[in-house]
Amino acid sequence: MTWWPLIKVLPQKTNFRFVKYARIAAVLSIVLCTASIIGCFYPGLNMGIDFRGGAVMELTKPDSETLDLAAVRESVAHLGLGDVGVQGIDDASSAVVRFQVPDGQEQSAVVARVQGAINEAVGPVTYSGVSVVGSKVSGELFTSGVLALGVAIALMFAYIWFRFEPQFGFGAVAGLLHDVVLTFGLIVLFKLEFSLNMVAAILTVIGYSMNDTVVVFDRLRENLRKYKTMPLREVIDLSLNETLSRTIITGVTAVMVLAALAFFGGEALFGFSIALMFGIIVGTYSSIYVGAPIILLWGVKRGEIAEDAKPVKLGMASRP
């Protein structure tokens, strides 16, 4: 049994030259981030009712009869509620209906009207979940969601600054922003619904990404003290290699578990778990390729600023 425990198979001491590819990684990150930011405005986020206001109803025809989606659509369309979405789910007997409540109209009355129209069109149905959010509340929820993301990032920055050094803080925050932006990009790409749960997912990604970054930075700080004369680039490479086995094991565990969640967790958790999973992958990547290189660009105080802390020399192998 030479292959078990698996940990022995992982090379004890990897010697990847991470920094060598930092430039390519930076270009890739910048391109993806830009695409994500553009994507947030065009085509834009698919806002759930939490942030947009409006109503969502889930309806099911009893005894697994087939639900006539066209009739449902037709019946709600002439109520003058603007854009109405009707979407069939898992089996043919259920659907999700989304619509906006026009300004100045009573929510409850509008919901009752829609339900009445649907019942008239397709016979009796049961409503298993109904959510209505007023425009006032949705605005507040959105503000507090964005505020939560902003404050989270600011506090992380303050914490790292306090625990390490300013440039570590910048590196960590750049990594965080990178992860958040890319997660938004994924939400846009897969047309996932951006809801309160999604904000929770992104905040969790922030927490995890930070966790990952801190582990790398911790080792980096330790090695900077240990090898006072080693060029910064090599210290970074060394630290990344030393923490690589842990990064991989933890990341793989988290991603596997989240995959199980996406697969077995049902409709409601699917978008949430996909976003988390992607965020964790990106978070792992950013703790290697965003946080550390930024420190390299900035340089760190180690008695004297090393020559090779300049970006110009990026990508050149320092030692044969």
Partner: protein, 534 residues
Amino acid sequence: MIQLSRWKVIVLIIALVFGVLLALPNVLTPAQRASLPGFMPKNALNLGLDLQGGSYLLLEVDVDAMRTKRVDNLIEDVRVSLREAGIATNQIAREPGGAVVTLADPTRSEAAYQELRKLVGAPGANGAAERAASRLSDGRVRLAFTQATLDTMGATAVDQSIEVVRRRIDSLGTREPSITRQGAERIVVQAPGESDPAALERVIGQTAQLTFQMVDTENSIQDALAGRVPPDAQLLIGDDGQTPYLVKKRVLVSGENLTKAEVSADQSGRPAIGFRFDGQGARRFGEATAANIGKPFAIILDGKVISAPTINSAILGGSGIIEGNFTIASASELVNLLNGGALPAPLKVEERRTVTAELGADAVQNGKLSTIIGFIIIVVFMLLAYGFLFGGISVIGLVLNGILIIAAMSLTQATLTLPGIAGLILTFAVAVDANVLIYERIRDEARAGRSVVASLDAGFNKAMGTIIDANLTSLVAATIMFIFGAGPVRGFAWTLSIGIFTSVFSSVLVAQVLLAYWLKTARPKTLPIAESVR
């Protein structure tokens, strides 16, 4: 030195015992739970509405509408009292919180002021009256709510509304509704398992302000419909939504004077509402009916005229019947509303989320299944990666972690929501991270050529700083979610925070104790997770 320290073992055993005790109710049936001896905790996990089904309503008290209405009534009081005193007015102008009267004859301002002083009302609990009368320098007079009244009006309205909503929901027979205040002007109603959210919304949505006002027979309704409404009257519609009524603005008696309402029947046996007034209401109603025999009066509920019967004789007993187009169901619903009291201000439903019990049960099933599968994945992966000894130790830590999380959630009665379950699963994944950090450090040290004991020792010591740092940042994120998050995000944050604490506690302590025990008993020469030292 890594040693089997006695206090760590004791802490671990205490944690395990308490964890099992607190988590136990979750695996028992409700009947078994009830039969537990008194000293044992009986609280199971508190499932959120998305997991057990129920309705969540966020209501906003329309304080502005109420203020406007209160000022309307004040203006009407001023108009009537000055007219009855024979003081002619040119204009009664509305101003924020009151009215300013321009008199036809400015020399009578003293008399007008004395009249208005009668309307100030009795001093309230704080010794100050609700309204204040004053004379202005140019001979105008003024009656307005005092600033103190205006300031507390909103808060009082919200408090009263909460009381009324509570009474009404209780009459529906919902089990354990929670009604809480949120912010300055909002109320959150959470009713688990409510099968008919529409009924819930109906009883909450009705203000149920019942008033008796005279029908205006002096002016023509056609003129009013054409837009010429007399200043002391208002145009209302009947509850059929069509018939217009011209009604005097002055309220003779209102629902506040009701002591009891009940379902009864009119002469032809159709459902009607029987009511009884208190002393003051009976007296006012008696006076008004005695003075207006032969004229119709309107019974108005929330701005709609239910009926407008003609007064045949003075009604002095303080009780009567309201006829209208009632069914037994609508009559009994209205009776419940009237007995629960009127809302001081209209309530607007700002947010409503309803989940049926079936949907909730489905979510719980999915959550359970994915938790178990996630757990198995982690167990298998850790055993594969680190072997039976070190991997096994992580698994034991993970099991303890799971027990402690459920125990802490049951103890604090924190609400477990669907995203909360996701947070729990992720917590397990990150919980092994502490073990991985420790083990990787130990391997580093072993590779550097240290002895088994020294590697374990140094591994633990060096990894601890990293573990604390990494988890503190996650805790910061969770705390922010808790502070800024609404509803579901909050529950998620709480689950995450509890998870962070229990994870660090169980993975570190279990590993320390068990590895020390292994050192003591097996006296190993090499570490199974490190390659043999060459």
